[in-house]
Homo-oligomer: 315 residues x 5
């Protein structure tokens, strides 16, 4: 558990107050969190939400305290999220995350290097920058899924695989989940924009609208990928249909050629008594009976092969 | 039938009137309802709607009386709703529900514990809080359906089941129904927002807009789940297609191998008279006739097996 | 043909003019219609539209005359509509319908019983009430189709029926048609809302917006039902797929078991001359040749049955 | 090539200028068009577009000249369009079309008969009326496609046809094309509404919005028809599936009944030497051997028929 | 690497400043770019983006510098894009592209020939004209894909091809990518419209809105084409289904006719001892036994052919 304090005290811009960012990794040290809570007068209910890390992304106001719960994508494999609690109290931004390591490095970098607008503006802008960085953290996640879909596409081109539909289904479920979580942020940001007069200044509200734009892009990307899932499944169906067609063609070709020939063989396997009458299977006693039978079979097979060839099924 | 009166008389905030909430469980005691009706001057038509518990969610105005009919999800299994009638008359909020037990506990808790804004605001805010709690009651219901879909997904991963399409269809029909009911609330809330000048104050209107947001989320969640239904059905189709392909492959392999061999057996089962000519089935009298025939069959079978193996059908 | 005049002359509200509603059933009596036309100065082109009852729902203005053509659902079976022409001239509302019997009874009832706002407002409100009642007349119609879909669903649960896809297609075509007609009303109402300054007062415009809401609901309900059609068709496809799979399984089981056994029978049906050599079918002369052959067949059948059982195809 | 000049000089309405409509059929006579161009100071680039009749529908402004290119549906069969170029210069409306015969007759009729608002308003209204008439010309075209779809539906009810999917695809492609062309008009009209201050008066802008409404309807109708295409294709698939099921059932019934019987025949066609042992096919020498074999076959066939009947496959 | 400077110094319009356009092909000459950067005070971060040519389309503001990254379609085959960086600094427009050859020729032509509004307006209009030209460069690209789809349609009409689903999938993936890139431009343009007060004048903002319109059209066209992809795939499925049906019909016809006949042959191939009893295969010794058997077979075949004919499977 590490409490890193990043303080940015900008006094160059005259009419702006200094901005402090306190960033805490880990929610296990209840005592320290309690101390923090007392120091900044954070509502106990909010602290409960901080510690219980299974909150939806949401915005809450406790008096003048702006409390934003964000879900940050985390973990290398699959879709997992980590809760980031953000408080904006009297020009101080406090963020509490579950584990060290996050997608806020660009924000820290911009602060440290005095890049962009981040040091010229008030604490609500810093809150925006952090939330925006978290939201932007979903872009590489979605890229991962796009890549998985590309791989699935390549797999399909090489003939596909029976586990593919399930694999696609799992990707799609994850995308649906990502979309849901991202949408929670959208709803929470909507609330920020609605109450903009209170805590977030109108200037910063514009930036939050920008963040909404990114969320919109994320949701569209997720939708696009989900559509691609469906597309790949259709491709899989097309291949399955072709495979079925192939199997059936082989069966039909074999059956179509041999069943009539077997029938002829069956005919001349009958035991009718040639002695009883001239009509009873005189072929059996012809000198050329056997060659005749074989020729008959060959003719039938040839005719049927020609028919199948004309149908284009022998290619 | 129980009439519980929860009174919240907030006098701390100077310019706000006291707020009273009367909550009635059960609509069977016509007499008591009549008394209530007389006491608050509720229009008889509204009381009819209260007793006849098959109303759509809707909003009606009877003079200054604001009458909202909500449908609250109820029952542990499947999708059932219970009618909650809400009156807002002169700062008094009256709710009448079919059965005891509801999703309004969070509201009562917040009133009892003086949490949040609920005790600082007027009766229209209480009406909002109740309607919002009812709307939020659909979230766990939808979670149930999401869970059912997860189960169906797991079932599919393990091979699926023939009753699955019907099961998915039923889930989807319920989701459609939920969406319809939730949408009725949306339309009714739209009407509240339109007539906001009259009964609901502009401050509270903002909260109703928030409630609309939740309904939007509910509808999106229902749509998402319905989409997942379709997705699972597609997965089922993919598996069915594979199963069909498997069945057909087995048939084809068996037929492809044995039909030609049977044909050879049929040939040498023919009864051509070898005495009639040298051409008539001399093979039958060869010393190695039978081994030759068996070898011919084995060669054919081997060739066809190699062909099938190359097609990848033997795996 | 019956001309019923329902007059509602409200003088209690001081700043409101009296409102008259003239309702005519049937458009066959050209003379009476002409008289009416002359009396109220209705434009001949409008009268043409009244008599030619195949108009789209639309709104037209002839000077100060507001002329609305609505299509009212009529007939017990399937989807038919009847044209209702509504004029709003100088505070007089004239409606002309094709046949007696309509969905305007609630309006008449409310007028007769002085319920709601209908008698307190101007003629444009009456026009709204009539149009709204016509629009609301589509709700029971859609309920009929929902019911038909429920029946189709039950039919499917019980195994389905080959005429089902066509039946679903017909339902869906009707729903599409209903949607189209309802949408015509939406477009016409849009025109009312656009020209609201002229004839319809801003108060009543609000109600027309409410009517738009209902149309929106109708269209959503129709869309929902159409979606259910598609859903049922998919369910039907799933069942068809299972049926195909069943048929093919039976074929495969029978063929897989008997074709190899027949092959063995074929082998020992060959006529190789055992006298020619020891190699030629010595089995035929073994003491246990026949039992051996039968046992061979039984073993093959048993093995294949075990294989099929392991595939789960025998259940 | 015919140049018909329809002049409508309305002086009754005092504050309105006279309006002139010049209508030219054919774009072959370069000289006359050049003369026209000089007379009204039309930009050479615009004249190029007039002569090169493969323009998209679009709006352009050359100084004060309003230049609208519309595509008018033309030809009896399938979807073809003809370019109509419309200039609005100083109160003069000039339309140039490729061939005589168009969908502007209603406009001419209304001018000639002084109906509606067309003669009471300025030249921009005339431009609107012409554009609106062209847009409305797509309605009968779409009706044609609806009819074709109805025919396709009837064909399907009667068993369908193998060329149907292609036919539906072609209809759908045409509908997509119509939608695209209509959408070009929508975009061009959007531009008119945006620049409304300049050339089109605010009054007329309202009418252009009405025209947008019609385009919206057209696009919805085209979408509806395209959806019906998809619907019919699904119906076709359902029928194809049933057909496949039928074919497979016949195959299965025949195979299921005859393969086991043939196997029995195969058994008693074996040549085991009854002299070698008592165990070798004693049945062959039983007095009732043959009837027994036939009875065995009949029993098997009967049992399988009963099984198939119970499956419901014999109906 | 070629640096072409196109200067347009318009002094005719009095209240407008002169506009300069500097166009640089190639980003390899770091030194020259550095010089440019120093000359116009371009932020180093922006120059990084210029050189690293894998940026998304985006808009950034560095102080008063407007920095737009566009992706221009390039290359003759398939979908590739080239980065175009556009700076708008103090009335100077700088564009830097990867390779010579672009879709900006119409802009240059209009400047050189003093056509349209381009020389009468400020530098922000030039920026608009360039961005608009880049966006419009996607239209021919989409036309290419439409053409490919037309070809695929023609291929399908002529029987289709097994590689078609994959081909359609690839087209659709490209279309999805194009849509994504185009959408990035839409988002960036949204930002321009939002910050319109700062750098882009309100007049030009109108034109950017027009550009948005084009992007909207592009996205709709891409969606339309993707829909056509789906449509063609469905057509392919329909044909595959028909093909499967054909294959199965041939199999069924052959099997249905020959299996029963073979069974009869099998019967009379049995070796029951006629000497043992009168009941044992007396047919074998009938004078007309063989003709009778053949007639029986012919009758069966004829009956089954009639049955198949009645089913319509022989056509």
């Amino acid at each position: 558990y590490a409490a890193s304090e990043t303080t940015t005290d900008e006094t160059a811009a005259p009419r702006r107050k200094g901005v402090t960012w306190i960033n805490i990794d880990g929610v296990g040290d209840i005592e320290k969190l309690g101390e923090l809570s007392r120091l900044f007068g954070i509502h106990p209910l909010a602290m409960e939400d901080v510690v219980n890390v299974h909150q939806h992304a949401k915005l809450e106001f406790f008096g003048d305290t702006f409390f934003f719960v964000a879900r940050m994508p985390s973990g290398a494999d699959g879709f997992n999220t980590e809760q980031v609690s953000l408080f904006l109290i009297d020009g101080v931004v406090i963020t509490i995350q579950e584990r060290p390591g996050d997608c806020l490095e660009p924000v820290r970098y911009r602060i440290a290097n005095k890049l962009g607008r981040i040091r010229r503006r008030r604490s609500d802008y810093l809150a925006y920058a952090i939330i925006d960085a978290i939201v932007d953290g979903y872009f590489p996640l979605l890229d991962q899924y796009s890549e998985k879909l590309d791989e699935a596409g390549t797999l399909l081109e090489n003939g596909g695989d029976r586990s593919l539909p399930l694999h696609l289904h799992n990707i799609r479920s994850d995308l649906l989940l990502i979309r849901k979580v991202v949408n929670q942020h959208r709803v929470a940001l909507n609330e920020i924009l609605r109450d903009e007069a209170e805590i977030v200044g109108p200037d910063t509200a514009l930036y939050f609208r920008d963040c909404q734009d990114h969320i919109q892009q994320l949701m569209e990307a997720a939708d696009t990928d989900r559509e691609t899932c469906g597309e790949l499944r259709e491709l899989y169906f097309a291949m399955l249909g072709e495979k079925n067609n192939d199997v059936m063609k082989v069966l039909t070709i074999i059956a179509t050629i041999f069943i009539p020939m077997s029938f002829v063989a069956g005919i001349y396997g009958m035991n009718f008594d040639s002695d009883a009458s001239m009509l009873n299977m005189p072929e059996l006693h012809w000198a050329f009976g056997y060659p005749f039978a074989l020729a008959l079979m060959a003719t039938m097979a040839g005719g049927l092969l020609a028919f199948l060839y004309r149908k284009g099924w022998l290619a």
